[in-house]
């Protein structure tokens, strides 16, 4: 194993570990749910990307062939992490709206309220909703 590969693997491992730790520390430290959403979605995803890159470089240096199947996990995660975060934010807004939770407003203030309606909840769809999201 060459010195350059050694340094690259060690640097990527340290970077990945640091970002994963920062993401989870944000999950513990920040005050409101919407603020806490930032840590895991960005820092942790980036940290895991760096760890997977370290794995790619390690197996290249060890076996001498480039394999990219670790990047599949990276790609999958980069696609799914925003969707999961969006769903969690929807859950939070829904619970706030129904009064199930009361928490201090964050720096960004309360979330905007659409007039009279709320999305992604138990409510029946509004009559002028497009058919793609609500079958009439």
């Amino acid at each position: 194993m060459t010195m350059a590969a050694d340094i690259a693997i060690a640097a990527l491992l340290l970077l990945g570990g640091a970002f994963v730790l920062i993401g989870s520390w944000g999950l513990v430290r920040l005050r409101t749910t919407m603020e806490r959403l930032h840590g895991p979605t960005k820092a942790t995803t980036l940290g895991l990307g760096a760890l997977l890159l370290a794995s790619v470089v390690f197996f290249q240096a060890k076996a001498g062939v480039w394999t990219v199947h670790e990047l599949l996990i990276s790609l999958f995660l980069f696609i799914t992490a925003p969707i999961a975060a969006n769903m969690i934010a929807k859950v939070h807004l829904h619970r706030l709206h129904t009064g199930a939770i009361a928490e201090p407003t964050s720096i960004a203030g309360p979330p905007p309220r659409l007039d009279g309606s709320d999305w992604a909840t138990f409510e029946a769809p509004s009559p002028d909703a497009p058919t793609a999201t609500a079958e009439r």
Binding site: V91, H92, A120
Partner: protein, 89 residues
């Protein structure tokens, strides 16, 4: 050098899992718990990748990919259940 970096990364991910567990137990809302579980799955994938590097084996990759898929579907199912009272409508 890789051994030291690997040990440090193991420590970081283990500490991150502990933080997630604290948030999972503490709450306070359901959204926080779902988020903590989702992050725990991602950190578990990181742990599996690190174990794969430490053991020098390529076979751990399938487990990590499967866990990524199952974790995503689980998060979405939890959220759909809270939002709509049903998972598949």
């Amino acid at each position: 050098m890789i051994a030291v970096a690997l040990t440090t990364a193991f420590g970081c991910v283990a500490l991150a899992l502990l933080f997630n567990g604290w948030r999972l137990l503490r709450g306070p809302s359901i959204g926080d718990r779902i988020m903590a579980l989702d992050t725990m799955v991602i950190n578990a994938i990181a742990m599996i990748v690190l174990i794969g590097i430490a053991g020098g084996e390529d076979t751990y990759f399938e487990a990590a990919l499967l866990l990524a898929m199952v974790g995503f579907v689980g998060t979405i199912a939890y959220c759909k259940f809270i939002l709509r009272g049903d998972i598949v409508e």
